[in-house]
């Protein structure tokens, strides 16, 4: 129960920070989150809101990582489990499991999609100088989905290109995105 409350408080706090970030000058701000103890980030301007996990309606014959669709104030929004999308084993959903609702540009239109992550972490600033290109190792074919590696004093975050990531065809294997840091 206490865990749930603190998770809720976290969500509320981060939602506030998001609206702050949107209200102020566009900056190099990233919302960071964890999947399998690895920290990832997405451009905060593409984030619409963060929600707790709620059961979704399954879509028949869809890939396993697509958890289904939910009702977001009248809009039908698909939810992708990033853990499964990256080919990492299933993780039991808990009260801290969150859905990050993002706006994804697809052609001329904008789609609203949700991603399930293990937990949100923070809002971090990375200036252009802090972002290093992901090492283009021959074995990693997924660096196209990574914008770069954001580094600060204490951590290194994999910054995702969420547009490319969520509009990638189902059959693209993204299992190596999480290994972008290697090397």
């Amino acid at each position: 129960m206490a865990e749930q409350q603190s998770a809720d408080a976290d969500v509320a706090r981060i939602n506030e920070e998001i609206s702050d970030a949107i209200a102020h000058e566009p900056s190099e701000q990233y919302l960071t989150f964890f999947i399998d103890n690895e920290e990832y980030g997405v451009d905060i301007l593409s984030v619409q809101e963060i929600r707790g996990w709620e059961p979704a309606t399954e879509i028949p014959n869809s890939p396993a990582y697509l958890k289904g669709v939910i009702n977001l104030r009248g809009a039908i929004v698909p939810i992708t489990d990033l853990r499964l999308r990256f080919g990492i084993e299933q993780f039991e959903y808990s009260p801290v499991t969150v859905v990050i609702v993002v706006k994804v540009k697809s052609g001329n239109s904008e789609k609203i999609m949700g991603i399930v992550v293990d937990a949100v972490s923070d809002v971090s600033n990375f200036s252009t100088a802090d972002i290093h290109p992901a090492p283009e190792l021959t074995f990693n074919k997924n660096t196209a989905f990574v914008k770069g590696l954001g580094s600060s004093e204490d951590k290194m975050v994999i910054l995702l290109d969420i547009n490319k990531l969520l509009t990638a065809p189902d059959d693209v294997d993204l299992s190596e995105v999480g290994r972008a840091k290697l090397g």
């Binding site: 399954e58 669709v69 939910i70 999609m113």
Partner: protein, 714 residues
């Protein structure tokens, strides 16, 4: 005045489209041997306001083209020219031409209509042959430039005082045109007398309250001047005097010389409904409003009917519908505050009041939903209005005599449905015309009246709209259809089909590819497309026919595409929605009705039919309650022109569901046409029958018996 006129362009375009529709339908009603002067006036007014508007907004090509049309109309109106079928056809062509011009302006494209010049020449040729007076070719855009040009030292000319009666515009006369004609004779100075102008809120935009003093400085005969006023001389005060030296242009009051100022303020505020503004209100500067205040404002009964084109993406909504909506929202707010207050200080005692409030809330919501839906509803006359022309043109080109009757034109239908039903309807009407109605000779031979009848009928039935296309033609020729179907392999030899099954064959895709249309005396060209389009709207189409007596096509459509009557079904823990309209029946499955065919396809014996069974659980890859077929229910549905039985676990409630798009944020999912949100806030998928059939791999079931039905393999 530096008003950006382009902001009014859209209004002008819409009004012009309406005007053109009015012209077209009036022209079609025109009987050359019995000309109704009101019809001519109606056409004239429409043409006139298009000309005026296009001149005002700088579409000079439209204005000059419409000018010749109007001139010829004026001659017909005044009786100086006989109307003939050729002239009616020419007018119809010119309506098309003007419409295309306006469409091109509307689309912002350069206006290039090759036949425009040709038609215009034809008009001019007719006009020059005629005895009429009005042949001046003044470009309307040059209008009003006259005032300042007068030369006060002119020596000869005429002073004209012209005070038309109030009704002058309604009789199709336009002072401006007369003035233009005068202007073509020489420099003209116009002074308007606006003393009779009534207060702005009692102005009738179609009345002419003005009188004019005109100074024409031209060396012409009095008769030439008189000729200009030939058509109005009986209904107006007119004096024509030689110009004396005192009558010079400097007397012209600078305020009065711009009659267009007065014209800029048509009393649109008076219009109660959001009806189209009377075309006359933006026609020409001379349509100056104003009148003796005693003159009561005439009801705008002479306005063309509200017939805007369907393609525009805006809707004109009657103010009554908006009022309803506002009332409803008011109710809702009251209920909400009542419930809010109840919540502040709630005890179990007030439970009945709470329940009452919730009941009220649900009623408000329902009414609100209905009202919102009504906003999108338009009378089907919007779609029907294109048919008189179609029938007129086609019957003439095919040498048939056809009368078109339209019933239930006021039946309302959602705009999106209306837009998409247009083409299938055209196809069906064309078919009735082409294949249904016989030639006059054939009709006489078979003892029918020479003129065939096609009836378009629309009415509401339950939550659906029904549109019927009824003809009294030859009907479907069953023998020929059956032969054709056997040739195409749609029907096996020796199959006995009921009449309606035979008639239904014309909707089969195989029939549209018939090598020769004339091969079938019945119908069938592209009928599969018609059925598909209608099915996509969640509707159905059927045909009934009696050989030699005619056919009736009946289309059933949901009133709206946004809401669907759904049957909730359950498979395992999943709830899906089937469109109620596609459900034929549901039955408990019994072993004896089930047949397993080599290849794995199960069939349900449903009376004298064999229906393939689709297991929702296996095509959606979900876990059902039980795996045995006898455990479940079979829902027999019709889609994509075939029947299938869907195996489900249970039937749940029926309810109206609001259709949401899955593609908006995700993508198209095979077997699913959309999603909706159920009462508990969860999302449920709406099943798409033809998609399910495709997914299941069941092939078209071709009326074959079980023994040779093994091509129905999964």
């Amino acid at each position: 005045m530096s008003i950006d006129l382009s902001q009014f362009h859209q209004v002008f375009f819409e009004e012009s489209y309406e005007g053109l529709d009015v012209m077209e339908s009036a022209l079609l009603n025109l009987q050359p041997d019995n000309v109704d002067s009101e019809t001519i006036n109606e056409i004239f007014r429409a043409a006139h306001s298009i000309k005026g508007g296009s001149g005002t907004f700088g579409f000079n090509d439209v204005a000059s083209f419409t000018h010749v049309v109007e001139t010829l109309l004026d001659e017909i109106r005044s009786g100086s020219r006989q109307i003939t079928l050729e002239i009616v056809d020419l007018f119809l062509k010119s309506v098309d031409c003007i419409r295309r011009m306006i469409q091109q302006h509307d689309a912002g494209e350069p206006c290039e209509i090759p036949e425009a010049a040709e038609i215009q020449q034809t008009f001019e040729a007719i006009l020059s042959k005629g005895q009429a007076s009005d042949t001046s070719e003044v470009d309307p855009s040059d209008a009003l430039s006259e005032s300042g040009e007068s030369d006060s030292s002119a020596s000869s000319g005429w002073k004209i005082y012209f005070k038309p009666e109030l009704d002058v515009m309604r009789t199709g006369n336009d002072p401006l045109r007369m003035f233009r004609e005068l202007e073509s004779l020489g420099p003209l100075t116009v002074t308007a007398d606006i003393s009779q102008l009534p207060p702005i809120n009692s102005i009738d935009p179609e009345a002419c309250y003005l009188a004019w003093t005109l100074l024409l400085e031209a060396d012409v005969d009095k008769s030439t001047v008189e000729e200009v006023f030939e058509w109005v001389v009986d209904e107006s005060e007119l004096t024509i005097e030689p110009l004396s030296s005192g009558d010079s242009a400097d007397k012209v009051d600078s305020h009065d010389e711009q009659p267009d100022i007065a014209e800029q303020a048509p009393p649109e505020q008076q219009e109660q409904r959001v009806a189209p503004v009377s075309p006359a209100s933006n026609s020409s500067p001379a349509v100056s409003p104003a009148a003796s205040s005693k003159e009561p404002t005439k009801p705008s009964s002479v306005e063309p009917k509200d017939k805007s084109k369907v393609e525009v993406s805006s809707i004109r909504v009657g103010i009554d519908k908006v009022d309803d909506l506002i009332n409803m929202v008011g109710e809702l707010v009251i209920t909400q505050s009542m419930l809010g207050e109840l919540g502040l200080d709630f005890s179990m005692d007030s439970l009945p009041r709470l329940l009452e409030g919730i009941e009220q809330l649900s009623q408000n919501t329902r009414e609100l939903q209905e009202s919102v839906m009504r906003i999108r509803m338009l009378p089907i006359s919007f779609t029907f209005s294109r048919f008189p022309r179609l029938v007129h043109d086609l019957s003439r080109s095919m040498g048939k005599k056809i009368e078109l009757k339209m019933l239930g034109e006021q039946t309302e239908l959602d705009k999106t449905v209306m837009e998409r039903i247009g083409d299938p309807l055209v196809h069906l009407v064309r078919n009735s015309l082409d294949h249904g109605i016989e030639t006059p000779e054939q009709r006489v031979k078979s003892g029918k009246p020479e003129t065939g009848t096609i009836t378009l009928n629309a009415f509401h039935q339950g939550g659906n709209i029904v549109i019927q296309i009824i003809d009294d033609g030859a009907g479907l020729n069953k023998t020929r259809i059956l032969e054709k179907a056997k040739q195409n392999g749609l029907v096996a030899d020796g199959d006995a089909l009921a009449d309606d099954q035979i008639h239904d064959l014309i909707f089969r895709p195989g029939f549209s590819t018939a090598d020769q249309i004339s091969d079938i005396s019945g119908r069938g060209v592209g009928m599969d497309v018609v059925r598909r389009n209608i099915n996509e709207l969640n509707g159905s189409v059927e045909v009934e026919s009696v050989e030699g007596e005619g056919s009736t096509f009946t289309i059933r459509l949901p009133l709206t595409l946004a809401i669907l009557d759904g049957q909730l079904i359950r498979v395992g823990k999943h709830i899906y929605i089937l469109p109620l309209i596609s459900i034929v029946e549901s039955i408990q499955s019994f072993q004896r009705m089930l047949h397993r065919v080599v290849g794995g396809c199960d069939l349900l014996r449903l009376r004298d039919e064999y229906v393939p069974i689709i297991r929702l659980s296996s095509i959606f890859n979900i876990k059902p309650d039980g795996n045995e077929m006898e455990d479940g229910l079979l829902v027999v549905v019709e889609g994509d022109n075939m029947k299938v039985a869907i195996l489900i676990d249970d039937l749940e409630a029926q309810q109206q569901v609001v259709i949401k798009s899955l593609e908006e944020n995700y993508k198209k999912v095979e077997g699913v046409s959309g999603a909706t949100i159920l009462g508990d806030g969860t999302v449920s998928l709406i099943l798409d029958i033809s998609g399910l059939i495709k997914l299941s791999g069941v092939q078209r079931y071709e009326y074959k018996t079980v023994s040779n039905g093994d091509d129905c393999a999964a």
